[in-house]
Symmetry: C2
Subunit: 136 residues, 2 copies
């Protein structure tokens, strides 16, 4: 592989808001893209957001993330479970009950997603207006 820089995330200028420098090497891009592709997904972001308040049952998630189909919810949850972002707990009752909950890793992801949620909420109108203006 490429020369290992020992740590992938070497841009720990936590003190600086704007990480102005070369945080991402060209090689890191691919690795990041890999993660961002699964985590930056629309449904993923919304499902993680829904679970941020605590564990939820399958149908509860589907109700909160309005518009998600059964298929996409299942696929998203399976991937999140495989990635170690949520846990799946089955209660062998009748009818069955399954709870999903963020893991520690999932909580940190949620934390990293909060600014993006906020940004989207705060700038949605501006973007839609820009978009409309550009379309003219």
């Amino acid at each position: 592989m490429h020369a290992k820089s020992s740590q992938e995330g070497t841009f720990l200028s936590e003190t600086n808001k704007f990480v102005p420098t070369e945080a991402l090497g060209p090689a890191d891009c691919k690795g990041l893209a890999e993660v961002l592709m699964s985590v930056g997904d629309k449904w993923t972001i919304l499902v993680v957001g829904a679970l941020s308040k605590g564990q939820l049952r399958y149908n509860e998630i589907q109700r909160r993330v309005s518009g998600i189909s059964q298929r996409m919810l299942t696929l998203t949850l399976k991937r999140l479970e495989a990635d170690g972002i949520v846990t799946r707990t089955l209660f062998p009752s009748v009818p069955p009950r399954v709870d999903y909950e963020l893991t520690e890793l999932g909580m940190t992801l949620r934390g990293a997603l909060v600014p993006l949620h906020r940004w989207a909420a705060g700038n949605r109108q501006a973007i839609l207006q820009n978009r409309a203006k550009a379309g003219s």
Copy 2:
């Protein structure tokens, strides 16, 4: 447990930053999804990241965001321009030169994306290992 008291209050996350518990109504979900779908896109995140250091020419961006095709770069830049996140500056020289740069809005987006970048960089290994373990 999470008190699901009457209305949304605030929720103390593990990382101790107080996070507003979903100020997102079910209706807002759709609106947010709309923004997140375009902004939470894989290439968008990487292109905005590349531009965070300052303006770049078309080909410079393509070189930095390795793996992106000409088509996707063009489409991504057009959308970002329409959304008011980047500016496009054409220098009518021969050969032509085009610079792309983040707008103020783009800078704030970049700020909101930093935690996600850092999370992805810091947890990539953990995720890949989880995924491999789950796959076995």
